[in-house]
């Protein structure tokens, strides 16, 4: 049976891992390669590296980081941040990344999703979407949640699937940093309408939150950062809890 995936997310800035509360107030939590290796040993199923400053500073994610991770880590990983065109993605995939994640570049130019899928295959493209609930509707946000767009989240995800996104990484900006649980209602609503994998992000605070998101929203994977980085949730214990609750996991 296909296992539900647990994905630690490493936000990277200047080659160091950081995690902010609601994406501001950055704190340093270590060397990304060392942290990645620790997670692979603990039983993480996959890793996501996001250069969270890349989008507004227009910096390219470092190819060196991707090469170092691909050389030392024996599980799959995704790299995101600052990927604006085909050549950016090409360089990162050739450096050993398994998947690339795009966010605002795709909102600005949705055609990018078609181009990426055609060039690399659908399984290489993860569309990251930051969403926030405003005046009764879910809207796509850009720049780490700073800027609202006029695009409704449900519409954008559906369009992205049709264009060739291989997977959706949905972060609820309302839940991110709160540690009050994932946005299970929205995640379930989205998951019921798409036929590609959905990764839940934003709000993980304890093990029960992971049980809830898998049981209530049936997502394929759940992503978190600080609860893992600061040892508040240990992956082997989390997997045991999920198993006891009847959720298929790799142990």
């Amino acid at each position: 049976m296909l296992a539900k995936r647990i994905i630690p997310c490493l936000d990277v800035k200047d080659g160091r891992t950081v995690k902010g509360v609601n994406f501001v107030d950055l704190r340093d939590a270590g060397d990304p390669v060392e942290l990645a290796w620790q997670y692979s040993q603990q039983g993480a199923d996959e890793l996501v590296f996001l250069d969270i400053t890349a989008t507004h500073e227009r910096r390219k994610t470092t190819v060196d980081l991707v090469k170092a991770v691909a050389s030392q880590i024996n599980i799959p990983f995704t790299i995101g941040g600052g990927i604006n065109e085909l050549s950016d993605a090409d360089v990162l995939l050739n450096a050993g990344a398994d998947k690339i994640s795009i966010n605002s570049a795709a909102v600005r130019n949705p055609q990018l999703l078609d181009e990426f899928a055609k060039a690399f295959g659908v399984q290489f493209v993860v569309l990251a979407v930051d969403t926030r609930f405003v005046d009764g509707k879910n809207y796509v946000h850009l720049r780490g949640g700073r800027d609202i767009t006029d695009i409704q989240t449900e519409d954008w995800i559906k369009e992205a699937e049709n264009r060739g996104a291989g997977e959706i990484l949905l972060t609820s900006m309302d839940h991110d940093g709160t540690k009050n649980g994932f946005d299970n209602g929205l995640l379930k609503k989205i998951n019921d309408t798409i036929h590609i994998p959905l990764i839940a992000s934003g709000g993980a605070g304890n093990q029960q939150h992971f049980v809830d998101v898998f049981q209530q929203a049936q997502v394929d994977a759940a992503l978190a950062a600080s609860v893992f980085h600061y040892g508040e949730i240990l992956i082997p214990e989390l997997k045991e809890t999920l198993h006891v609750n009847g959720i298929p996991v790799r142990r």
Partner: protein, 196 residues
């Protein structure tokens, strides 16, 4: 020493990195005479099977692969290339193992691609799976699968239907999952292949 068939279908960084971590020496096969330099061969491959087959034919390596007598391991699309045919691109393939590669879409209710860690059930005493617990999880990423069959199938996986997770015929071996991304059990499988 392992030779990696270098025919331009997808990046080979991950497989070479895995071999490096395991202290298994390797080199690249770019021309038919390069096959003589190695005692084992890996055929990698990602992306589109039809396009990969075309590249393999253009590289001039496909006929030599068919005649090989040394151990060969196909990975993912490199596995599918060993079969007769793929629905992806409606392509005729190497035809070394008489099976078909089919699309999940329309045949299963599950999401496509089949992406993530899935458990496999393999035959006892299979040297490729030596020192690996049965029902271990391996990492899969694919939209096309090789039909389930008992003559050449050596491991089965389930995703809405049973399909071939690994196949073999004589000196040819192939796995649908990515051993280079499958943690410790994947590394053990690569070590086992190196010992064949």
């Amino acid at each position: 020493m392992i030779g990696i068939v270098n025919y331009g279908a997808g990046n080979i960084f991950s497989i070479t990195a895995a071999l490096k971590r395991l202290d298994i020496s390797y080199g690249m096969i770019n021309s038919p005479t390069d096959f003589d330099l190695y005692d084992k061969i890996i055929i990698p491959g990602v992306g589109h099977a039809g396009a990969a087959m075309q590249k393999l034919v253009e590289s001039g390596l496909s006929e030599t692969i068919k005649s090989l007598k040394k151990p060969v391991l196909g990975i993912c699309v490199g596995m599918q290339l060993l079969t007769d045919y793929s629905e992806e691109g409606n392509a005729d393939l190497l035809g070394i193992i008489p099976l078909k590669t089919l699309h999940f879409e329309g045949r299963v209710a599950e999401k496509v691609p089949h992406m993530g860690w899935n458990s496999i059930d393999f035959q006892n005493n299979c040297p490729l799976f030596k020192d690996i617990p049965n029902n271990s999880y391996f990492y899969f990423v694919h939209s096309y699968y090789i039909e389930h069959e008992l003559t050449y199938g050596i491991a089965t996986c389930n995703y809405g239907l049973p399909f071939s997770a690994a196949i073999s015929r004589d000196n040819f071996w192939a796995v649908q999952f990515h051993p280079e991304k499958s943690g410790k059990v994947g590394e053990q499988l690569l070590l086992n292949f190196n010992e064949l």
